[in-house]
Amino acid sequence: MTKRFKTGYRIGVIILAIITAMLLGAIILWAIGADVFKTYLVILTEPLKNKIGITEVLLRTVPLTIIALGITVAYRSGIINIGAEGQMAIGILATTAIALAFPNLPRGVLIPFAILAGAVGGAAWGFIPGALKAKLEVSELLSTVMLNYIAAQLYTFFLRGPMLDPAELTMGSGTPQSMRLSRNLDLTRFIRGTRIHSGLFIAIALAVIIFFLLWKTSYGFKMRAAGASERAARYGGIHVPKYLIIAMMISGAFAGIAGSIEIAGVHRRAIEGVTSGYGFSGIVVALFGGLHPAGIVPAAFFFGLLIYGADMTQRLVGVPANMVQVLQGVIILVIVATKMIIANPYLMQRAEARWNALFAGKSSSKEVEA
């Protein structure tokens, strides 16, 4: 088998997968009576037409990247973290608590301190399912999802109670949110007139760190070994439960950091709905990015585009933004199928035989003509 055919085959399968996903999406769009072509055109091109659009997409890329990186660490270590949503919420609470308690700390201290608090909060929330799985073999699928609900309730409780903006009490509008946090926590918005903030660079730095952690250090080696084959890892003297817990804590910490940055960079206060499904989209981004930082960054951009584009379809063509979630579901199914197709050498071999029968014959006859 030639290398060229292999590469071509893979690219071909991926293109086919994208077309399949779009076709399946089209069926659903058509079923709800939308203009299929226009919807896709709006989602994929409208956001990229101006500075604001592009920066808004990047704005969504930041939390998606960070969460997906965390999910990758967990996934590669053999534990599937569906709890990023909850870990993010706890991270936001921790960041908010620090910012409320120490509003006068200088920027250089408050920002790292608050983000670190977010990481610790998320890590603590990730520790629970990690420890439950490592010590008691509780399925992380159940525990992480259930902890999402608990985190959501805690979040609401804090925003309506201890952390509620005092101004809301006097004004009586009752919007559950914290007060505007200290300006010393604000991440720099580095392009005038847009909301894009320095969290973007943090996300990219974290991607590099995760690459090094997983593939260049002995810790990453052990985590990946534990994830790839628990039995062989145990045989190799790797304390699998320990690395499961560490991986879940890193995963949670990243979700927490994503929450902190979202607060410090975009909202500047804890409000309801900050997490807005990033925890779940992060899973799709991680899988779509091939569980590798180099794939995750572009994948996060793509999903940022989908999410922001979907907002626009609501305004421009009247298709509900929730459609993006349907598309995400379709994409997950297509990714799984694509992975199986690419991993199957017999299928590839058959494809090559067909290809040769179809085209190699033609090309040789052309040579004869020439």
Partner: protein, 512 residues
């Protein structure tokens, strides 16, 4: 028989060719079999035997060639088509669902038991009992597959195939997990059965080829290089045809224990997954520079013993003295760092991380050693160089060290494990079924390495069912039965017959 299959009077394979990416697995193979014949299909690993049988079973579709049953051409699109013609196969890799019971596994393929949506387990139970009685194959229908040893699982496979009413039996290395007595029984049984059936069996063991088969076919590199009546040819003729050269397996003839004990097991009690005592007051010692062969039918505590020594299984009571230190219930990491090497039973899933590259597998136990990392960062250069050196030294056949270890052949996987364990300079090595399923070339290589290690002063506990392997390599032979050591005898006194009797649980072998 309840199955509505007609008898198979003849089966013919004509010019079968099958290609896999980069490999020509079967190259213009033609064979013919008649009812009542037993064909031994012999050849080294990777010669194409299993592929050929998988084609016969409808698991693969041949690229070229034809199949005839009773002189009529047939096309098998799936194993179901092959079953329908009465072809049944017991695979080398058992096709069993681990978290279902024996009965449920058999019921999966037993169509008569499926009445609409209802599954009549009682009729399956009855059928299993019949078959078990008829052929003397004892299985506990209610145990879960994951609880069974490899040997027991194979028995389940045999019962399953027989329950389905196979008329044409394909057995892929059927005796690899049986005791000598059981092997003899099986051979007698298969001979009896061959009056009404045809049997093809794949084997590496020349003795059973001689004992059982009426015809023999030898495959090499996907081609049939020899076909003939077994009776006309000696074992050594067949061995020479199989490998293309004369093979003499190495033999241990050095003096016994002179250097003092290295591993002492004292009154070990260890529980199996099922909770019963797999090791019951087991005591044994192995000296430095000595090979002790542990003979026994699989499922008598061998797996638990190896796991307990290596810290992978809890020790209920007793001591494991390793170079003077009690390592019972220490972590695997501690056991490894105190100098224990371990070649596990499940080479594909335990001995390697299949998805990892060969070089990553070489450092599986040493990712934190200063050799391969500093301040937690892996040293790429050292890892690459070591991997390349080991690949050459141990003659591991692959283009480079970046290939996924799981994609290598069984023999090469075992060499990867052996290379890693030996290069770590162990003080002691536990080798569990180190050559199971390997061809003679690979087995020879591994035996030489083990003997070399012994002569350098390393103690070795060799757990095996191959009596020839045990008697060839060991200084002492210990026989395990139901979690206890039956007897330890010097290798020179360990005749096949005597070991077989001990393995079957007869305590005082002198009286027989």
């Amino acid at each position: 028989m309840e199955q509505m299959t007609k008898a198979i009077d003849s089966l013919r394979i004509e010019h079968i060719t099958k290609r896999f990416p980069g490999v020509l697995a079967c190259d213009d193979v033609s064979l013919e079999m008649k009812r009542g014949e037993i064909l031994a299909l012999v050849g080294e690993n990777g010669a194409g035997k299993t592929t050929l049988m998988n084609i016969l079973m409808g698991l693969y579709y041949p690229d070229e060639g034809k199949l005839f049953i009773n002189d009529k051409e047939v096309h098998f699109k799936s194993p179901n088509d092959a079953f329908a013609y009465g072809i049944g196969m017991v695979h080398q890799q058992y096709m069993l669902v681990p978290n279902m019971t024996v009965l449920e596994n058999i019921a999966l393929g037993y169509k008569q038991a499926w009445k609409g949506l209802r599954l009549d387990l009682q009729s399956v139970r009855k059928r299993v009992k019949e078959v078990a009685k008829q052929y003397g194959l004892v299985v506990d229908p209610d145990s879960y597959i994951w609880q069974l040893s490899v040997g027991e699982q194979q028995r389940v496979e045999l019962v399953k195939t027989l329950c389905l009413g196979a008329k044409f039996l394909i057995l892929d290395e059927p005796t690899s997990a049986l005791t000598p007595q059981e092997t003899d029984d099986l051979i007698a049984l298969l001979r009896n059965m061959s009056e009404e059936l045809s049997i093809v069996f794949i084997s590496h063991k020349l003795q059973e080829v001689k004992d059982l088969s009426s015809k023999v076919a030898i495959l090499r590199h996907g081609k049939v290089v020899f076909q003939g009546n077994t009776i006309d040819h000696s074992s050594s003729d067949i061995a020479a045809l199989m490998t293309g050269h004369e093979v003499v397996l190495p033999h241990n003839d050095a003096p016994a224990c002179t250097l003092g004990p290295m591993l002492q097991l004292r009154n070990l009690k260890v529980r199996s997954d099922r909770g019963h005592l797999a090791l019951d007051d087991l005591s044994l010692y192995v000296c430095k520079g000595e090979i002790v062969g542990l003979a026994g039918v699989s499922g008598n505590g061998q797996r638990e013993l190896a796991e307990a020594i290596n810290g992978l299984r809890k020790v209920e009571s007793g001591q494991i003295l390793f170079d003077g230190e009690d390592i019972a219930n220490h972590t695997p990491a501690h056991v490894i760092s105190s100098g224990m090497g371990y070649i596990p039973e499940e080479r594909n899933t335990e001995g390697i991380v299949p998805a990892f590259s060969m070089k990553e597998n070489f450092i599986l136990k040493d990712s934190e050693s200063p050799l391969f990392s500093s301040h937690a960062f892996l040293k790429k250069k050292e890892i690459d160089q070591t991997a390349e050196r080991l690949r050459k030294e141990f003659d591991i056949r692959s283009p480079n060290t970046d290939v996924a270890a799981g994609s290598l052949s069984g023999g090469n996987i075992q060499k990867v494990i052996l290379a890693r364990e030996i290069s770590r300079n162990p003080k002691f090595l536990i080798a569990v079924y180190p050559t199971r399923g390997l061809d003679m070339g690979a087995a020879e290589f591994i035996h030489k390495q083990l003997l070399h290690l012994r002569n350098e002063g390393v103690g070795i506990l060799l757990i095996s069912e191959e009596l020839e392997e045990i008697t060839n390599l060991s200084d002492q032979v210990a026989v395990i039965f139901k979690g206890k050591i039956q007897k330890v005898i010097p290798s020179s006194e360990a005749s096949r017959r005597r070991l077989g009797i001990l393995m079957a649980g007869v305590k005082d072998d002198e009286e027989i």
